[in-house]
Symmetry: C2
């Protein structure tokens, strides 16, 4: 049996993929895959996703060069979430942070702070628009 | 501004929460919160979720005793995913594994293997049904 038969995609044919940096354990981002982008991820060893807002297939880093090399693909007990270990080139976040989760809630439960440095600006990554 | 104003809930009023064990960096599970369960999580310091299948509010560990004590709540650049650092009591997975992501895909891209020991059986956790 292929692990693909264990997976449950949403009614839109999607499954969320948590991306974790293998070397540090840092959770970098979460994005959605369809079956085709998951299969492409397995075959190429680079993460591919499905953009719900743009309704397009994309390889992480195709514009920025910040690709993700896959080291492990795990799936959860319910088969409805993936956890993918990668080696990340540069910043994972399109805002130039290593991780998209660069803001944490303060002890008051309302305000928040940045928890990591911005490595690059979006203009440096993508050029001026 | 409250961080809650930065969040984007789905049309069903939900947001996915990735739960990570702070001490080890292990990603334990992903589950869905609504605004009320997130606020309850902040106030109590224990993770609360919304069950899409049962359409109920639940505290992690309310039956099993395997509660999660919150140490940090982060949110991503798009405001549509949470990353919550916890200290986990016992197994996070209802199948008795520390993490719900206890299976990984093999190099052939199809077959899979267990990557961690089962700490308890579901019968030991929840009693015979």
């Amino acid at each position: 049996m292929s692990f693909l038969d264990k997976l449950k995609f949403t009614s839109d044919g999607l499954i969320p993929a948590i991306i974790q940096e293998r070397s540090t354990g840092r959770v970098l981002m979460m994005a959605w895959m369809n079956r085709a982008s998951l299969e492409k991820t397995i075959v190429t060893g680079k993460t591919h996703f499905w953009s719900r807002s743009r309704q397009t297939f994309w390889m992480k880093g195709e514009t920025s060069g910040h690709t993700q090399t896959v080291r492990d693909i795990a799936f959860d007990c319910d088969g409805d979430t993936l956890l993918i270990q990668v080696e990340q080139t540069g910043a994972a976040c399109h805002e130039g942070y290593k991780s998209c989760f660069f803001r944490s809630v303060e002890a008051d439960g309302r305000s928040f702070r940045n928890t990591e440095p911005q490595l690059e600006t979006p203009e440096e990554i993508y050029g001026k628009k």
